[in-house]
Amino acid sequence: MATAEHLSKQFDVDLETLRSRMLQMGGLIESQILAAIEGFYTGNLKALEQVIENDRRVNAYEVSIDTECSHIIARRQPAASDLRMIMGVSKAVTDLERVGDEAKKIAVVSKQIHESGRLQIPRLADIRSAGSVVVGMLRKALDAFARLDSVAAAEVIRDDAAIDEAFRGIVRQLITFMMEDPRTISTALEIVWIARALERMGDHSKNLAEQVIYIVKGTDVRHTNFEDVERQASR
């Protein structure tokens, strides 16, 4: 990847601003996920409301980053690695915004559960551990983006399988509770939504990692199997 500066200093500044804005957005979303999961366990309604409110800031990041991408295309007609950076950021930002949405969903559902005082089934430790795997994946994907490291990005893609497995495990557990005591069904279903939101976050982090590989290597690895991804990422 070309790392030397452009002859146009302003272009360098524009690209750097874009990248750092994306990382700021990622940082905000990470804290949203952690706060939402914490709120699920503690029932702290104010904290959950804050997560819901903060989603507007996440959305504002998406709009401003996409607008800046359009401006750079109009002004600079970027080519090669610069063009891939703009295309990759534009797509990755959509996935990040969806992660933000899922965090908000977790907060909304948690609030519903606690407001109705319904959390009667045993607290699921699995949600917290699945949550920390997801945050880890997101952090790793953002880190891979910051360092333009395609090998690290490939690892994130591999990690997504673990989230899918954790999700299935949580659902199996919840089904057991529901069968034992039908009064837990409505709460259990809400927890399935929360687990599903985490699983979706894993998918979006994987998409982000795929864009990092595209930016660095110029190869579109979406919808390819993992062996091919690893090979492309480490070429």
């Binding site: 070309a2 030397a4 500066e5 452009h6 002859l7 146009s8 272009f11 007609q77 970027p78 080519a79 090669a80 690695s81 610069d82 063009l83 891939r84 110029g218």
Partner: protein
């Protein structure tokens, strides 16, 4: 004769498209202005009925390379060619001293940066090459002149004033007249040396549209210092630097994912 079935819409192309046939090929091409070596060992295909763009910083040799194709360097003493430029399908070596440069220029025509119509009428500008070839029949000249002016997308604008002086045309029209003049001898290849540098954006766009139409019938080689133009009009792009060919590939590849860091640096404006 059985008609071919309509082609299926191909699933996403994974393998690269079939390579088209070559119209020309440089082999070990070198060029010296006196003792100064301006071109070094250029090996490059020119694909038939495609537009190939030559890009690179000032002094990289792209115009020098272009002028080898129609033996323009012959006009000045002290110049020396090395290697071959083969023209297909007849396998003629353009640079062979036994090959008549006038004949080469009938088959390979050039359009220059600054429109340079002759101080003659529009009609006579286009007919000139044919007259030099010995064509006398008025009916045939009329037909060829109209065909060439249509080919240059100029006929409708000038058909009622063919006897007007060419200098009365606008810059963009004069350039299209020069293209018509180049087309009149039914060339197999057209060379363009920064054809729109002197034109406004609208005239530029109409010349670029003309290139897209011309390439259906003729092979085109264009030198441009405008990278976006190269990206817009060409099928293949060659990046040159200090007399050498650094990279040659399909334009989409060069502008999305060039193999060579020097190419990448040039097209992203990191060149310094």
């Amino acid at each position: 004769m059985v008609a071919n079935p309509a082609p299926e819409i191909a699933p996403v192309a994974v393998a690269s498209a079939p390579v088209p046939s070559k119209k020309s090929e440089s082999r070990g091409l070198g060029f010296y202005y006196g003792s100064y070596q301006a071109l070094k060992n250029i090996n490059m295909p020119i694909y038939e009925k495609k537009v190939t763009a030559l890009i690179g910083p000032s002094g990289c040799g792209k115009s020098t390379y272009l002028r080898c194709f129609n033996r323009m360097h012959d006009l000045y003493p002290g110049n020396r060619y090395e290697g071959n430029i083969m023209l297909y399908p007849d396998h003629t070596d353009i640079l062979n001293p036994e090959v008549d440069p006038i004949e080469v220029r009938m088959r390979i025509s050039m359009v220059f940066q600054k429109p340079n119509p002759f101080p003659k009428s529009i009609y006579e500008n286009v007919a000139y090459g044919l007259r030099v070839r010995g064509e006398r029949k008025r009916a045939l000249l009329d037909e060829k002149v109209e065909e060439a002016l249509r080919g240059a997308a100029l006929w409708e604008e000038v058909k009622n004033r063919l006897d007007d002086l060419a200098f009365n045309l606008s810059g963009g029209q004069q350039q299209r007249l020069c293209i018509a003049r180049a087309l009149a001898t039914d060339p197999e290849m057209l060379l363009f040396d920064e054809p729109t540098s002197a034109l406004d954006p609208i005239a530029t766009a109409s010349i670029e549209q003309l290139l897209a139409e011309l390439k259906e019938k003729i092979t085109i080689l264009i030198v441009t210092h405008n990278m976006q133009q190269a990206a817009r009009v060409s099928d293949y792009t060659a990046y040159m630097y200090l007399g050498e060919l650094i990279e040659f590939d399909a334009t989409d590849t060069i502008f999305m994912k060039p193999m060579n860091k020097q190419t990448e640096d040039y097209i992203t404006g990191r060149f310094g």
